[in-house]
Amino acid sequence: MTNFLDRIRSAPTGLAPLALLALLSIAPAPGLGAQASAVSVTNAWVREVPAGRKTTAVFLVLENSGPTERAVVSGSTVVADTLELHEMKREGGMMAMSPVQRIAVPAKGSVELRPGGLHLMLFGVRQPLAAGDTVPLRLVLDDGSRIEVRAEVRSMRPMP
């Protein structure tokens, strides 16, 4: 298997810097992705996690100011073992929850993750999360860029 780097090395010397530049622009530098992304997040919140509970859901609004459809393909957070993309759906008289591969954000459009629909699931939550806390999340898009999100923990108890 001749890989890309071999081909760069064997390329005429004048072209090598150009190829390297191309390579660098494909792989986004860490930290730059967030600024480069046309997708932004607003109104991010997490359901409060009482002691003894290990799962919770995150809801937010994704907005895409760019001319191309983008999609969230994965994510992570320090407060839980796993962050997954999920969807609740009505199936006849039943509610079904299933993992999804991606959450598309249309060009010049937005998508809302909300109770009863698309959401992010946190599995293996490591500590109780109390209303008012802030949870840092990182979402990864299909173009490799990342969005750093701070989600507010909200109570599930009815307002007094």
């Binding site: 359901r47 409060e48 009482p50 002691a51 003894g52 509970r53 799962t55 919770t56 859901a57 073992d81 796993t82 997954e84 999920h86 609740m88 199936e91 008289g93 039943m94 509610m95 079904a96 929850m97 299933s98 993992p99 109770p115 009863g116 959401h119 699931m121 599995f123 293996g124 599930m156 108890r157 009815p158």
Partner: protein, 204 residues
Amino acid sequence: MSAASTGWRRAARWVSAIALGGVLSAACAAPAPAPGGDFTLTDHHGEPFHLASTRGKVVVIFFGYSMCPDVCPTTLSKLASVARRLGDQRDLVKTLYISVDPERDTPEVLKADLEYFPLDALGLTGTREEVDRVVAQFGAEYRIVPTPESAGRYAVTHTTTLYVLDQGGRVRLTFPYEATTDEIVTGIRSLLGPADAPEEGTRR
């Protein structure tokens, strides 16, 4: 891991057997039998629970599972609002949350879930067979869906109906998941009869 996955496979077979049974009985029995009836399960304190022990109270029953991020917290939260709206009459209402995921929803797990909400509720679980019997009694339904790509391993698709039983244990009202707090409060009050207890906000 392999023991767990045989666990859900066995459970999935159980559920499909029950679903098939449901189809067969629906095909030959014309009038649907009145759903409900007494049952015994284990409550979230680990004690046996008999539905008959709630006679004299209006009972709200729903089926769910703790790993579910939406339906169960939303329903419990809504029922806590209902309880607050009922004011002093709240003591005449008992909520029962029956787990359709007894492998994961041990009494301890249900306890953690329920203690969070200001609500007179019991979480109920049991053996798969016990839970399936109650599910069938109420005409509810659920299906275990393997999700090997997820840390959850499997999800439980389930009906989200609320069943409201009168003081004699008969199912009198059902509400869809989308029912509002107002609708549920009105329904429960219709079963409680004329309120001699003051409404919320007055004389407290």
